[in-house]
């Protein structure tokens, strides 16, 4: 029931997204026909291309066409890569997702313990360390961190592989199961490819992790501080429960709700930050795809990208709501 109701509330926002992206891409300056006519086109050649693209028809007609195509699961064809948008998004989405998830996992693994440690000893060196790391992480733009990491670990030290996308030039992709190279290569029992894919992932994932460390560590610290100072913790302490049990079972479980909310938010803006990281590491993800399409006024991929992202957010929010229910029984009861 909860699931259905939550899904129903998402419908208007998806309809809104469809209309807004359609109008926005048309309102952007730039003439795709002129762009694609090439450097030596005549006005007549531009008009021919405009007609081929259907851009000479009225906006409502174009919109109806677009809806019809959507209903058939057709997101149109990208002009800059020449491929169907749906196929491209499906092959590129796992690349972005693998990178973002790994970055997020890396970030959680570092940020949560760091936040807890900082909250247990406020004012101690570990707390200051936490503060420095988070301030540095949040104030460095991702493309800068990315380029810096490439410069140090690839160019100067030569220990990281060349920033050439998901695999080095002489490895070939594992057989397609999930599109996640790490999982696919393990399924195929292909350790060299697993190693190659992991090596390519380390720097971009670290870039994303550095960027997302700050909000997670800070919110963990703040909510742990609140939980540790609350009355039930004092009662638990007075009852002589072990420190371990107090911190991890009573305090942390109560502190984790805001951390999950932040995690959801961080995940969504990581998908955004991805655009720049993908550019730096030549990562074949959805972000770089959308930006390139935007520069070329290539409508179809931009619309497809925004729509996919909107759907992803809806699913993500749904997932977070469900996790809430697991962590906090009150949420279930209210529903």
């Amino acid at each position: 029931m909860l699931l259905l109701r939550r899904l129903a509330t998402a419908l208007p926002s998806i309809a809104g997204v469809i209309i807004v992206t359609f109008l926005l891409t048309r309102a952007l300056p730039g003439d795709p026909a002129a762009y694609f006519a090439g450097p030596a086109a005549t006005t007549q050649a531009i008009d021919e291309i405009r007609h081929q693209l259907g851009l000479d028809r009225s906006l409502p007609v174009q919109f109806l066409d677009y809806l019809g195509q959507l209903a058939r699961g057709d997101l149109g064809t990208s002009l800059s890569t020449g491929q169907p948008v749906l196929a491209e998004l499906l092959t590129r989405l796992p690349a972005s997702a693998e990178l973002t998830l790994l970055g997020l996992v890396l970030s959680v693994v570092i940020a949560v313990p760091l936040g807890i440690a900082a909250a247990m000893r406020p004012g101690a060196p570990v707390d200051h360390f936490c503060r420095v790391v988070t301030t540095a992480g949040v104030s460095l733009p991702t493309f800068f961190t990315g380029l810096l990491l490439v410069y140090v670990f690839y160019y100067l030290m030569g220990i990281a592989p060349a920033p050439l996308g998901r695999l080095d030039v002489f490895s070939s992709a594992p057989p397609h199961w999930t599109g996640f190279y790490l999982i696919d290569s393990l399924l195929a029992r292909d350790l060299p490819t697993f190693g190659a894919a992991l090596a390519q992932l380390v720097l971009p994932a670290a870039t994303l992790a550095i960027f997302s460390l700050a909000p997670l560590a800070r919110i963990t610290r703040a909510s742990m501080l609140a939980a540790l100072g609350s009355e039930f913790v004092r009662t638990a302490r007075a009852s002589g429960l072990s420190r371990r049990r107090i911190v991890y079972v009573y305090a942390f479980r109560n502190a984790v709700l805001p951390v999950i909310t932040t995690l959801g938010m961080v995940f969504s803006f990581l998908l955004g930050a991805n655009v720049l990281v993908e550019k730096v590491f030549a990562w074949p993800g959805v972000g770089s795809y959308a930006v390139e399409a935007l520069i070329a006024s290539d409508y179809a991929p931009v619309q497809g990208f925004v729509l996919t992202m909107a759907l992803l957010y809806v699913l993500l929010n749904l997932g977070i709501d469900l996790v809430y229910g697991l962590v906090d029984p009150r949420v279930r009861l209210e529903a």
């Binding site: 952007l28 300056p29 730039g30 003439d31 795709p32 002129a34 762009y35 694609f36 006519a37 090439g38 450097p39 030596a40 086109a41 005549t42 006005t43 050649a45 531009i46 021919e48 291309i49 081929q52 990208s78 002009l79 800059s80 890569t81 020449g82 491929q83 491209e88 380029l147 490439v150 410069y151 690839y154 160019y155 030569g158 060349a162 920033p163 050439l164 996308g165 030039v169 002489f170 490895s171 350790l191 060299p192 190693g195 190659a196 550019k279 730096v280 590491f281 030549a282 074949p284 770089s288 795809y289 390139e292 520069i295 070329a296 006024s297």
Partner: protein, 535 residues
């Protein structure tokens, strides 16, 4: 005990993983590396078919290397000793010989040439391909027409290995136009299998599939990521290329492209920004070749229909106030060929050539006063953000310099996708822009950019009947002496009236490892892998 055992086991396991990772990978890698070329560029093809709708320049490269044309161009050495295609020498490619008659040309095709699928190449394939080029519309049709190749009736398959082109008029560009990237020979039998009623020329299928008979075939194409070529060992239209495989990767970040080539992981990096080129050339670890792009010019244009640029003295004043040398030093880092400070009299029928203008603010001020604007005026200088690396600092320098003679300039940055639409309207008073023509003839450049027909590249809306007469005459001139007079005539007018101020001739820059040989500059400004080799 247990912990120790676990540690021991996991170290051993890690050892095996590492061994498994290292041992099979290394030798194969060394082998593959030797006869494989890894080349980098910012963006890749959007279409494998040069005749497709909106095929971009990297797409021409894919098509060029995988298809044959009837003829190609010879090679010469440029002033720096590098290979440079020679537009005066037409050489055989798919056609082993030809006869140019009065109103037609007859080509003999190689009898042993085959397409990549093994089918023999016949005159029917040539006819189908050329019919396609003049019929599909858009850029390919336009490019064919530039050589007076206009309708299917002009192309005749006499027998399997004889092909004739009938002329609609005598045009010296007809034969060279058969060597540009558009008139490729496509495997018509294969393509027709994928044609439909709605799409008789198989545009959809050829977008993602190649049906050629050129020196390379496409092994794998992942749009926006990489393109892998494999040599076609049965190629007969020239000597077999030395490279077996070419991997072309798209790396959007210029910094990373530079790191990859400097570390030796990539063999060739193509079309670099001037600053990187200047630094790489200085370090001397790599072979860096910059070739002035033929018949191309970066310029400042003034719209003669918009006041005060309608006054010739104002235009001359601006031409004397451009900080030419500063632009060459601070924007171009010495790359590119200066197109200013030339002799007062035009004495050679070539283009581009240096204009007589130099930076002379006193003279500029005086001209401005003579034009009745001693206190200057206000205007807007527009440029394409797509080329902001050079455009932005260039325009800032111009703005600074013009302020000294009282001209207040506001900069107007126009996004790349919008640039063409904007300048096509011809409402921008003052722009920084570039133009280049494939066919290396001065009158070809002037036909598009100065002629009174007012093509979209005549961004200055310049119209002068006297100049038109000279351009039209030079286009079909057969007498070399008269031709020289005509070209010098219209170049002189262009300098005197100065609707566009030449600044420099841009360079095509490529950086390579020192073991890469055989780089050749081509007018289409893309790589030709057939001549490249690794030693």
């Amino acid at each position: 005990m247990r912990r120790r055992e676990f540690l021991k086991r996991s170290t051993a396991a890690a050892g095996t993983i590492a061994a498994a990772y290292v041992i099979p990978a290394r030798p194969a890698r060394g082998q593959a590396r030797k006869d494989t070329l890894l080349t980098l560029s910012e963006s890749g093809p959007n279409n494998l078919d040069v005749m497709g709708v909106g095929t971009n320049r990297p797409g021409y490269e894919a098509s060029w290397n995988t298809h044959d044309r009837l003829v190609t161009f010879g090679v010469k050495k440029d002033p720096n000793g590098h290979d440079h295609y020679d537009y005066t020498k037409i050489e055989p490619e798919l056609a082993e010989s030809w006869d140019v008659g009065d109103m037609s040309a007859t080509f003999k095709l190689r009898r042993n040439a085959t397409f990549h699928d093994g089918a023999p190449v016949t005159a029917k394939d040539v006819k189908w391909s050329f019919d396609r080029a003049v019929t599909v519309g858009g850029f390919p049709t336009f490019q064919m027409a530039a050589g007076s190749l206009q309708k299917p009736e002009q192309f005749v398959a006499v027998d399997d290995h004889t092909f004739r082109v009938d002329f609609v008029r005598k045009d010296k560009l007809t034969l060279p136009d058969l060597g540009v990237p558009v008139p490729i020979v496509i495997n018509s039998q294969l393509a027709k299998k994928h044609a439909t009623d709605k799409d008789p020329w198989a545009m959809e299928w050829l977008k993602n599939n190649e049906a050629g008979g050129g020196a390379f075939r496409i092994e794998k194409w992942t749009p926006g990521q990489e393109l892998v070529y494999q040599r076609f060992d049965e190629w007969k239209s020239g000597s077999l290329p030395k490279l077996q495989r070419v991997i072309w990767r798209m790396v959007p970040s210029a910094g990373n492209r530079r790191a990859l080539i400097e570390r030796g992981d990539a063999d060739v990096s193509f079309d670099l920004p001037p600053k990187d080129v200047a630094e790489l050339a200085h370090e001397k670890k790599l072979a860096v070749i910059g070739t002035p792009i033929e018949n191309a010019l970066n310029y400042i244009g003034m719209n003669v229909k918009i006041a005060p640029f309608d006054k010739v003295k104002v235009r001359q004043a601006v031409a004397y106030a451009i900080p030419y040398q500063k632009i060459m030093d601070a924007v171009m880092f010495g790359r590119g060929k200066p197109m200013f400070g030339g002799p007062a009299e035009v004495s050679a029928p070539i283009w581009p050539q240096p204009s007589p203008y130099v930076t002379d603010l006193a003279k500029a001020k005086q001209l401005l006063a003579e034009a009745g604007l001693p206190n200057g005026f206000e205007t807007t200088l527009s440029f394409d953000l797509g080329f902001a690396v050079t455009n932005e600092p260039l325009c800032v320098l111009v703005q600074e310099s013009l302020a000294q003679i009282g001209i207040k300039v506001t900069l107007n940055k126009i996004p790349g996708a919008n640039w063409r639409a904007e300048f096509t309207k011809k409402t921008l008073p003052f722009i920084a822009n570039a133009f280049g023509g494939w066919l290396n003839f001065p009158e070809y450049f002037f036909f598009w950019t100065y002629h009174g027909q007012n093509a979209i590249f005549n961004t200055m809306s310049y119209q002068n009947p006297e100049m038109d007469k000279l351009i039209d005459a030079a286009r079909f001139e057969t007498d070399p002496k008269k031709y020289k007079e005509e070209v010098e005539g219209f170049v002189s007018i262009a300098f005197a009236d100065v609707p566009r101020i030449p600044i420099f001739q841009p360079s095509l820059e490529v950086a390579m490892q020192k073991n890469v040989t055989g780089y050749r500059y081509w007018f289409h400004r893309q790589l030709d892998y057939r001549q490249l080799a690794k030693t």
